[in-house]
Symmetry: C2
Subunit: 151 residues, 2 copies
DNA sequence: CGGACCGGTTTTATATTGCAACCAGATATT
DNA sequence: AATATCTGGTTGCAATATAAAACCGGTCCG
């Protein structure tokens, strides 16, 4: 294609987020990293994607500060890909995507999986957005406020 | 490229969500629709993307049940693209992406915009995930539970 | 020390993207 | 009423991204 248009310099945080993690494979790599996968071959087997694609995605995630490489935990000469704090902070996005998918992307009775509270084993509540004073907020209760550049 | 691998039949809700809305333009179209944009030309001007790309994205979002077309609200012969309930349910995903972007994707002092509570004008709280019994849950407090196909 | 495994890189074919030009019908202007 | 302009696209084209497959040097395993 023509070069994909970059949103790196867009002023909207949503656009910037999508630029970093708005790719199927990147998101699924982060998902798998949250489940404990660390090695190149683990990601490749579990996701079933081509190795060259995995390579480009891992490099991009490392460049973005979402993953870091560190010496393999099994003592071998290889390396692990592990989440940084920025990477772990993707958790709410993952939960939101998951809940929307659970609710709308499956026919009744279709095989799938759901997120549960580890202790009780019960399904978690829908994500909630609250105001600073604690009020529960819906779609119409929010606004976007510009923040000018300092300088 | 070779045909992008489809995740439509993947059992993971995250993968299915990404298949529907894991595209920059699709997500930004939904964002703009939430801000009240409705017409083809409004999306095109505001997003600055090519018309053929906008066409394919709008068609896909309609096919996915995220947008619907309806007669233009201004009485003209044209049509509006409006969010369905499924489309409005993308809101938490949008908020999650936005909060992560606000937190990690901008240098200090860079121009941007933030989400505030419409009434108080104050920044909203981070999204929260709670267990059925109300406990606040973090990354390690959740688990994924398979749901076999019925039949 | 020989074979398998690991983490890639290099082709190659085919899709997708984006730009620009074009177009028919609806709307606005004179 | 005739013409110009806007709307919502479609059609070509060039550049780039994706995926499958083959290949490859360093590790590890017995």
């Amino acid at each position: 294609m023509a070069k994909r248009t970059s949103l790196k310099d867009n002023a909207c945080p949503i656009a910037r987020s999508m630029e970093s993690i708005g790719d199927c494979w990147s998101m699924l790599i982060i998902r798998d990293a949250m489940m404990g996968l660390r090695r190149f071959s683990e990601f490749q087997k579990h996701l079933g994607l081509a190795k060259n694609i995995l390579t480009t995605r891992l490099r991009a995630l490392v460049a973005d500060g979402i993953l870091t490489t560190e010496p393999a935990s099994d003592g071998s000469a290889y390396q692990d890909y592990v989440l940084t704090p920025k990477g772990r902070a993707v958790f709410p996005i993952m939960v939101a995507l998951r809940q929307w998918g659970e609710d709308f992307a499956f026919a009744p009775g279709e095989a799938t999986n759901i997120m549960v509270d580890r202790k009780a084993g019960k399904r978690v509540r829908p994500l909630e957005l609250h105001a600073a004073d604690g009020r529960l907020l819906g779609v119409g209760d929010t606004a976007i406020k510009p923040v000018a550049s300092a300088g």
